[in-house]
């Protein structure tokens, strides 16, 4: 019996089964299911991505009425190092990428717990807080441009009405405030989604665990810190990464609210790329592409860092 089981043609059974399974893998089905989407993806996402990397090492030079792409080496990247506006936009984007998710996750988590414990009116809160997320960034930007208007905006009129005249600032016209106004308005329109996802994560915690905690005599605070928060962790990391990526790519609200101004004080990489690529009609391909490559690198780095940092703290 020590002999391995084998098939009539002398091959070991296990290998034969493995072989049959491999040949029986439904290749037609796999190709039919995956290929259409992957072709679409390759054509309209992957190819443009590679083209952006390619462009970033090239420049467009008009010669004799025609446009030619000329290899430029690292010229575009070197130009980035010298570009003050780019520095400012990176700084703003990073401030946003750090401050935005902290504010958003902090409040969204608090609010999720409040609704989770069913305070009075919790159903109303849940519906109301989520609403801004449904509205286009264009509309949000336009409405808040009015709200933050210096002369007759809702905010300043309200502040003056309650006697806080000196807090009624020129929100969109000064150096310090536009970026924070943009951060706030974007927060206003996106915190609802983080809140709702965290709430869904909380409600998904099995009832038995909460009962067990109660039986063991855990205080409400202990239930939160020892049961709910640890179980919420994977959801929290996902939502945090979504929030971070949202801030890094945010465009509509910035564009409509301040357009990156005044004097680039609220410029982000997203708006600056758009300006260099299209709005200034500079017909430049290489420079915005180099900017995009750096940008993608920063986003990947940020997501990687969040992932690593939180995973390590989990152990």
């Amino acid at each position: 019996m020590a002999q391995a089981v084998s098939t009539p043609d002398g091959r070991p059974l296990a290998a034969a089964v493995r072989h049959r399974r491999a040949t029986r893998r439904p290749w037609t089905a796999i190709v039919l299911f995956i290929a259409p989407a992957m072709i679409f993806f390759a054509l309209f996402v992957l190819y443009p991505l590679l083209a952006t990397v390619y462009y970033s090492f090239h420049n467009i030079v008009p010669t004799g009425g025609q446009l030619h792409t000329v290899f430029a080496g690292l010229d575009n990247y070197r130009a980035l190092i010298a570009d003050e506006i780019f520095h400012l936009s990176v700084k703003n984007t990073l401030i946003w990428g750090v401050a935005g998710p902290i504010i958003e996750m902090g409040t969204a988590l608090t609010l999720a717990f409040i609704v989770y414990y069913k305070v009075p009116l919790h159903r109303f809160y849940r519906v109301a807080w989520f609403t801004p997320m449904l509205v286009s960034g264009v509309i949000v930007g336009l409405v808040f441009r009015w709200i933050f208007n210096y002369d007759w905006g809702l905010l300043n009129v309200g502040l003056r009405a309650i006697g806080l005249e000196n807090l009624a600032l020129n929100w969109l016209g000064t150096r310090e405030w536009p970026l924070w106004v943009v951060i706030f308005v974007h927060y206003w329109s996106t915190f609802g989604y983080s809140f709702i996802l965290l709430l869904a994560g909380l409600t998904a915690v099995p009832e038995e665990l909460l009962d067990a905690a109660r039986v063991d005599g855990a205080t409400p605070l202990q239930t939160i810190t020892r049961v709910l928060l640890p179980l919420l962790r994977p959801t929290f990391i996902t939502v945090l990464i979504l929030s971070f990526m949202g801030k890094m790519r945010a465009f509509n609200i910035t564009w409509v609210l301040t357009g990156g101004g005044p004097m680039h004080y609220s410029e982000t990489v997203a708006t600056y790329v758009q300006k260099r690529a299209f709005a200034w009609r500079s017909l430049d391909l290489g420079y915005p592409s180099a900017m995009s490559v750096v940008w993608f690198g920063v986003v990947l780095l940020g997501v990687g860092l969040i992932n690593r940092w939180l995973k390590r703290h989990a152990d």
């Binding site: 089905a29 993806f41 519906v127 989520f130 264009v138 996902t238």
Partner: protein, 297 residues
Amino acid sequence: MATVASAGRVRREDQVAHWWRRFLLLALSVVLLAFTLMVIVPFIWMLVMSFRTTGEILAEPYGLPTRLSLENYHRLFFDPAIRFSRYFVTSAFVSGVALVLTSVLSTMAGYGFGRTRYHFRLRSPLFGILLLALMLPPQILYLPQFTMMGRYGLLGSRWSLVLLYTATALPVSIYLMATYFSQLPGELEDAARIDGCTEFRTFWQVMLPLSRPALATVILLNFLHFWNELLLAVTMVTDPALRTLPAAMMMFVGEHGSNYAIAAASLVSAMLPVLILYLVLSDKFIEGLTAGALKGA
């Protein structure tokens, strides 16, 4: 005697704790209502403004409408120079077609990637590339996409938006569908095969109906994204007549910027379809947006 006294003290402590709790709850409610006010005031302000006339607004920015006039809305939709309705048609067309394409492509690919039965050697690298694309700020792709659309004569056509919306929505949609499909039990699939179902029928009649929560998430998320998208819309389509709603809005408020009443009416009517859908379906809507989104977390 001692027990009676201590019982009285306990009752008094109970009462203090009770009132303290009520007070805390009240304070919390005040804070939460103030926060909620911050969330909904912009909507209310727009709504009120859209029923007034620009003259009234300029005279007294924060008055209430003197009469409930639908004049702004009437002008918005029936003034031949504005005819706001055509942008709704364009947006509905672009979002609708892109939504159908995205749903079909991503459910199929999600099924192909999600089921262990179909695992093949290149699966992981392919899926990895999709995940990488998930983190891509879409703007990075616009320049090459622009030249590409120019090359194929699609620049200025609504089809360019349909194609690009679908393509950029694919990574996240495939990811959501694949994680959901991968968590469905394999027995159903085996049973269907034993009953003689083809691969495609197994997918279509057995597995797809089970994936409805994830599909709802994919549809809602993408609908919101397509309906609200601005940057591609203004980059690829420059013909004013073919603008989508957000693009038209941007231009419209730019041109009629000082006509606050009608600008407010345009903002309200642009967000109304989604808001009505949401308020009618709110629980289902929220469920739909979250059910599929956290499965893979």
